[in-house]
Point group: C3
Chain length 337, copies 3
């Protein structure tokens, strides 16, 4: 494995499959409880978290590591992120310094920082994650960044392997845009796409025209595509889902509306009928429902689907623990073979 | 023990005494430090906490379990609690989903959620606690709900057993209303009443007429009453306390003032002379002073009493650790015999 | 060691050197991972923290202790600090009670509470720290108080020992005032001064006239001075630094401006050219740069110095872990000989 875990796109060769196999094995309880005994994990949260925090803290502890969570602006100092800043204003510590200090005291730094959703180019640069990775002399784990969420994508793929078998090549899966009251980042769909393309699935992406995924992400997906796989784009939800074995719903904002929240909301409202319902699900082939959570019930997806027998979103959330443990085992020197 | 620990009212047969005996034994250091090794405890806090958080985290760790605390609206997402809600507003995740996720990743969920104090019927339904217990597939512990606080009541009773012996039947104890600048829930007095009635004590409840405990709670106390016990209600503090071995002071609001804070405050002000003083305590029979804490000094009780030789409120707080450990040992499969 | 760790000024005889030696040894990994097994450490934070929280939590865990952090006003109750207060206002729990409760449940209490910067006499009384130490029946550690920060000073001295050898007698070191957008407490410079005087260094303190250190602190430094040492005061930065082996920059406020923030800011602005630059550093004798962090980049010190080869601020931060561990080992009964 590379030194850091920043994106599934970085994983060499069969590393993705190896991590997934390891996660499946640890889920069965087959791992060394002292593999990372005494190792120290620092968790840096710029944004709130339930699954990510629980899974990382519990996964680290389950292999003997100690954890400490840092929340800038709450119990820790407010951080500056601009290089070269003259810090005579509101921010109290530079990100660069906080990272160096955390690295001095720990064996691994995990960081969560959402997209600004104001400047698409800025978001693509992954300003915070990149800086953390550059300044840290210990491994860095991405707990969701501006445009990636590899721990989530690992759990997504793991859940589908449990359902459809380890070899996901050619299995039809739909990633569908969904309505949402707020403009959301593209981290989860981007990470999902990187993961399912890499697994060689038959990927369908459905989104209203104005929420079409950007070209750079399509290019990335194409480049990641394994033999046996395909990625196709649809402007109609029903066409994409027809025959799919899994439906992954997710809201995301369109960069074209950055800076114009009213226009963005109006565009979402125009497509409010993209809510996933039992009727939508029935278009699939005994399709399971997936979602990263948290989810806006009866906006993104109806209660019926979430509470129904084909929903795997909660198993998927539980798999966050096992995939986090696999990543930590790999990075903290636990045997991973 | 039942699967959950939601109320002392639920405990079958001699389970209350068994838990108290276990707590006393672990206080002497007699317990297995690895009884819950590797088990995972998720603590969900809708409200602030000092004793409860400290005692639960340290108790869990003392038997080998790992803990993770979740604070919705702060480091975790803001939770929706209404069933069937169309979540197009401010709340980011549904309680139902958060609980399912926590249950996927943990072996026990503990939850703290105060009364709304707006609708007495709503509070009686215990909307959050009930939902957590219904959705969780792992045991649930009540860390204070709208109308109950069984962990506190366990510590209350444990402290009196240390003082008066294990058999508390017939021992006179007074629960007295006290003034307070804010309207407070009835969780602590209700839990206390359930506990002392169950122990067969000679229970006296003193409150100004307008803060009389509601009939449903009196009915519950009567139903819980063990042989040798009694529960009597007084409108004068001195009459109740005369001859008592213990005085438990606690402020609570009256449902009749829900929706009219000014009237509630005026009613509290009319009874501001209910503050427990050395003179009040002298009416008892070498009475000890108990309180759940936090306490408003010189409003609920004077400095003299709190800092005096008959105050047991701090021992009582310390017993929160031992009672929490007993509950966790029972629920997490530690041997408790 | 004394029961508490409140100030380097309290340490008897060769205790400071013993702690430093112990810290150096544990940094090499030479310590018992179970020295404080099952011990409980309560951390009380009235103010934000990165280094202190990380180092204390990780140090405690590294020797087998369990930790719980309490943040009044956030996840715990808002605390009253005035003795005898009639608590009919905003505060929910008295510090005295919180401390007693924490002491009931733990083996050590660590507390962080900054200066009020409104009343110099009040700050000198160390109102919160003193109260915590008085009410706690378990050892108390100062994690920065109104006018002291002994854990920081330990790390400062440790870092210089690593650079210049264990015997620091006569080594020239400059503590220089630096500009800052906000009025800051004097805790760090005061602690530093206590530490370096005790080590017998050749101490130079540089500050603009209006930020001169108060007489009581000069008296303390003189009293602490070990043979071979000296403490001199300068109104020019260059005169102080000339020939120094280490430069410690730190902003602090002047009590003369308490109650007049505008005058305080104006005074700081008048001395904005005290920023430490490469040119300043060149006056020293191959001087290393030290700072407690967090630091306002390009205000207190330039990027060039912080990111340059003579900066030891990050090693110094890392040494917070090892010095915290040494203090905890000493107080929690771990054998330290």
């Amino acid at each position: 494995m590379t030194r850091d875990f920043l994106s599934l796109a970085d994983l060499p060769g069969d590393e993705l499959v190896r991590l997934l196999d390891l996660a499946a094995r640890t889920k069965r309880g087959d791992y060394d409880r002292a593999a990372a005994a005494g190792k120290r994990v620092a968790l840096l949260f710029f944004n709130p978290s339930l699954r990510t925090r629980m899974s990382m803290e519990l996964a680290a502890q389950s292999i003997g590591a100690h954890t400490v969570a840092v929340v800038p602006g709450a119990d820790a100092w407010k951080l500056e992120t601009r290089r070269g800043a003259v810090m005579d204003g509101d921010t109290q510590e530079h990100l660069v310094d906080a990272v160096r200090v955390m690295a001095e005291m720990s064996d691994l730094i995990a960081v969560r920082t959402f997209a600004g959703l104001k400047d698409a180019d800025e978001d693509r640069r992954e300003p915070v994650l990149t800086e953390v990775a550059r300044e840290s002399r210990v491994p860095v784990v991405n707990m969701e960044s501006a445009l990636d969420h590899p721990l989530q994508a690992l759990a997504d793929v793991m859940t589908m392997r449990e359902e459809f078998g380890d070899d996901l090549r050619g299995v039809p899966v739909t990633l569908t845009w969904a309505p949402h009251p707020r403009a959301l980042p593209m981290a989860v769909p981007a990470a999902f796409l990187r993961g399912v393309a890499r697994m060689g699935m038959d990927v369908r992406v459905a989104a209203p025209k104005e929420f079409a995924l950007p070209q750079w992400l399509r290019d990335e997906a194409a480049a990641a595509l394994a033999p046996g796989g395909a990625v196709r784009y649809f402007e109609r939800q029903d066409e994409a889902i027809r025959g799919s074995r899994a439906v992954y719903a997710k809201a995301w904002a369109s960069p074209q509306f950055y800076g114009d929240p009213d226009a963005g909301l109006a565009a979402r409202k125009r497509n409010w009928n993209w809510t996933v319902t039992e009727k939508t699900m029935a278009l699939g082939d005994r399709a399971i429902f997936l979602h990263c959570l948290p989810v806006r019930r009866n906006v993104v997806v109806t209660d019926e689907v979430l509470d129904g027998p084909r929903c795997r979103a909660f198993v998927e959330a539980g798999n966050r623990l096992h995939t986090a443990r696999a990543v930590l085992l790999s990075l903290l020197g636990g045997t991973s073979k």
